[in-house]
Structures are given as structure tokens and as C-alpha cells.
């Protein structure tokens, strides 16, 4: 059998309204409590972080004055480091011609000698004489070998001629490695 609601319509509305008011009150109290908790948390966070910041600032001031007291050492160290570092880089980047000549002397054929060597802006032009065409071939082969390419690259024979005695004159050019 269906329930029969005997409460009058008005009474029911009042009851619903009271329920709504109660719920709203609970929500308001909840909102106020949550707000209060958040205020406290934010305040604690803010105070903690601010005090830490103040601590760091005073530490930085203290350390700054210590560093200023050690300025002479810092200046010296910076200058030394700067000079030695650059000197090391420059020394590493330069061409050591004595070493280059020693390496060259070790690989070129015995029937070959140089009459003129010019190195300008990294480009080398070598003029010389050779006892025979085989010696010239040996020279070119030496310069284009693995050991030769450590000294000179992009080798080209610019001129090659022989005279009535069979002596060959040559001009070879290339790029000095590392210059």
C-alpha cells in the first residue's frame, strides 16, 4: 500500500528549508575552519621561509666580507689561471718546426734535397732537387704516406723538370698540418 503523506505541504517545505539551513551552516563552519587552518599553515610557511631567507642573507654578508678579505689571493689565482691556461692552449696550437723537419728528414729519400722552403699562412712550398725521377716519386710517396700526412697535407707537385745531367728540379706545395 502506498504511503500516505499526512503532513501538510507547508510543514514539509519548512522541514526542507530547515535542512537546507542546517547544511549551509555546516558548510559555512567547515569553510571557516578550513580557512583558519590554511591561514595558520600559510603563516607558518611564510614565517619559516622568511626566517631562513634572513639567515641565508646574513650568511652571504658574512661570507662576502670573508671573500673580500681574501681578495688578493683571488686576484692572483685568477691571473695565474688565466695566463697559464692561455699559454697552454697557445703552446698546443703552434707548429713546432724543428719537430716537423726532423720527421721530414726521417721519411724523405736520400737522393733528394731541398733548396728552398717557404711556409706562409700555413701553406708550404718546397723547392729542391732529386737525383732521379724515382727519387721524386719516392718523395711524393713519402709525403702522401701516413707519416707524411702528419706533417703536410694536400700535397701537389707544381713543377718537375730535369736538366742535361739528369737531375730533377721540383716544386711541391702543400698545407702544413696544425698551422
Amino acid at each position: 500500500m502506498a504511503d500516505i503523506n499526512l503532513l501538510p505541504q507547508e510543514e514539509r517545505e519548512n522541514e526542507q528549508y530547515s535542512l537546507l539551513v542546517k547544511r549551509l551552516q555546516v558548510a559555512a563552519v567547515g569553510a571557516l575552519v578550513v580557512t583558519a587552518i590554511l591561514v595558520i599553515i600559510t603563516l607558518v610557511m611564510f614565517t619559516t621561509f622568511s626566517s631562513r631567507k634572513a639567515g641565508f642573507s646574513s650568511q652571504i654578508e658574512d661570507l662576502s666580507s670573508k671573500i673580500n678579505g681574501l681578495k688578493a689571493q683571488e686576484e692572483s689565482l685568477v691571473v695565474i689561471k688565466d695566463k697559464v691556461g692561455n699559454a697552454s692552449r697557445l703552446s698546443g696550437a703552434r707548429v713546432e718546426y724543428h719537430s716537423l723537419f726532423n720527421k721530414l728528414a726521417a721519411i724523405i729519400p736520400q737522393g733528394v734535397y731541398f733548396t728552398d722552403v717557404r711556409v706562409t699562412s700555413g701553406k708550404a712550398v718546397i723547392s729542391g732537387k732529386a737525383r732521379s725521377s724515382n727519387d721524386v716519386a719516392g718523395l711524393v710517396s713519402a709525403l702522401t704516406s701516413a707519416r707524411g700526412t702528419e706533417i703536410i697535407s694536400d700535397v701537389s707537385v707544381d713543377t718537375l723538370s730535369s736538366d742535361e745531367t739528369g737531375i730533377f728540379s721540383y716544386v711541391i706545395s702543400g698545407k702544413v698540418v696544425g698551422d
Binding site: 539551513v21 661570507l63 692572483s76 685568477v78 695565474i80 695566463k83 697552454s88 703552434r94 707548429v95 724543428h98
Partner: protein
């Protein structure tokens, strides 16, 4: 039964105003809570978070500065002065042309070559106008350091001509490289004057780039970390000191004192 037929005016709902009053208080409280949340809590919370982020940066800064203080305090001032002198021998702060020419002459004499010509255009002798170094960065030489192009500007070029045999020339080239001051050989020309197939003296001309590095004008920021010398750099300085002690004439950067005073400014020697 006779019921009155007169219509009675219906009373308006008497609790309407009271009802609204009951709603106002919780609604107002919620509104206040929202306003406090939006206008007070959220800005302060974000501010607190930004302070926290700042603190993290400050903590790193403090750590770096503490390390810097420890590093600087551990350095021996006298040792630094000596190392500074050695570094100055490697790369002088100014052009130091005359001491370099003197070094070339000493090397030529030691190697057994005849120095026939020395040609140099020193220009303004102060190093600052020739190629001021950028302020050093603590990150080195990238920190440290200057680029090759920047360094190429800080040099003085000395052109020399010399006559020698092959062995002396190679010795000269080797000793020039072992000079304390960093220098490099450029534009080398070697010509043999032999016409008859006999071994003849070599005539050589070359340009020597002698590098220098002006002192930095300003230090990095106070919180910038300092870099200590690497073992390789300490080794270089130690070798410079050893060479300076073993051959003071060749490596001396000082200009030799000469007698001064003349009565006739135009009289020959």
C-alpha cells in the same frame, strides 16, 4: 450547514523574512572564507613558495661561497706570488719587446746562428691598447677562457733573418719553442745559397709571434666560484721556475741596465 461564502484573504507566508535571515549568516561566512582564501591566503602562499625557491638559490650560493672561502683560505700567499711571477714569464702583461729581443739574441748565440736582421714594429708599448683581455670568468677558461681569435690579437711580431747551417737552424727553432715566453714561428722561409752542389749556409727569415696577455681589469662576481690550478698547470709553472733558475740569462724578462748620460747628443759612439 451554512458556510460563510465570504472569501478570506490568504495570509502571506509569515516566515519568509526570517527564512532569509537564517540563510544570511552561513552564506556570509562562506563568502568571507572565499574572500580570505582569494585575497589573503593565495597571495601569501604563492609568496611563501617564491621565498622557498629563492632560499634554494641562496643555499646554492652560500655553498659556493663557503667553498670559495675554503679554497682561498687554503692558498699560500707567498707561493701565489711566485706562481704569478712564473705566469708573467709565460705570458707577460705588456709587449715586453726588448726583453724578447734579448732572449732571441741569447738563443741565437747559444744555437750558433748568425742573427743578421731583427725587425719589429712594437707600436704602443702598453699591452692594454693592443689587446685588453676580457674579464676572466670563473667557469674557466671558458672558463675560462679566451678564444684563439681573441688571443691572436695579443701578440707582438718580430721578424728576423739569420744565417746558419741546418743543424744550428733546427737547434734555434727548438730553443725558440722552449723559451719561457710563449711564442710561435710564422712565415718561415729557408733558402740554400748552394750553387755548386756543396753544402752551403742556409739563409732563413721568419716571423716570431710573441704573445702577451694584459691583466684582467675586473674580477668575476663575488659568488662566482674560483678554480684552482690543475696538476698540468702546476707542472707548467714548475717547469717555468726550473728553467728560470737553470738559465737565467736566456729566460730573464728584465731589460739589462746600460750606462747613461751623454755630453753630445749627436756624437757617434
Amino acid at each position: 450547514m451554512n458556510l460563510p461564502t465570504l472569501s478570506i484573504a490568504r495570509l502571506p507566508p509569515k516566515i519568509e523574512f526570517g527564512r532569509t535571515q537564517l540563510l544570511l549568516a552561513p552564506a556570509g561566512a562562506i563568502l568571507v572564507a572565499v574572500i580570505v582564501l582569494v585575497l589573503v591566503i593565495w597571495p601569501k602562499f604563492t609568496q611563501a613558495l617564491s621565498i622557498r625557491a629563492e632560499n634554494q638559490q641562496l643555499a646554492v650560493k652560500v655553498g659556493v661561497m663557503e667553498t670559495k672561502v675554503q679554497v682561498l683560505a687554503s692558498l699560500d700567499r707567498n707561493e701565489l706570488v711566485e706562481q704569478l711571477g712564473d705566469a708573467e714569464r709565460l705570458l707577460p702583461s705588456d709587449k715586453a719587446v726588448f726583453s724578447y729581443i734579448r732572449q732571441i739574441e741569447a738563443v741565437a748565440s747559444a744555437a750558433g746562428v748568425i742573427l743578421s736582421k731583427v725587425d719589429v714594429v712594437p707600436g704602443v708599448l702598453s699591452g692594454e691598447s693592443a689587446g685588453a683581455s676580457p674579464p676572466p670568468t670563473a667557469q674557466g677558461a671558458a672558463p675560462g677562457g679566451a678564444s684563439q681569435d681573441a688571443l691572436e690579437g695579443a701578440k707582438v711580431q718580430v721578424k728576423i733573418s739569420l744565417t746558419s747551417d741546418y743543424k744550428s737552424l733546427v737547434t734555434f727553432l727548438e730553443q725558440i719553442m722552449t723559451l719561457l715566453r710563449v711564442s710561435a714561428v710564422r712565415d718561415l722561409t729557408i733558402a740554400s745559397v748552394s750553387a755548386t752542389g756543396e753544402v752551403a749556409p742556409l739563409r732563413t727569415s721568419m716571423a716570431l709571434d710573441a704573445y702577451f696577455r694584459p691583466l684582467p681589469k675586473e674580477l668575476g662576481s663575488i659568488e662566482a666560484p674560483v678554480e684552482v690550478l690543475t696538476p698540468e698547470e702546476e707542472k707548467i709553472l714548475a717547469s717555468v721556475r726550473a728553467a728560470a733558475i737553470s738559465s737565467p740569462v736566456v729566460t730573464s724578462s728584465a731589460v739589462v741596465a746600460v750606462p747613461t748620460g751623454r755630453t753630445d747628443l749627436f756624437a757617434p759612439f
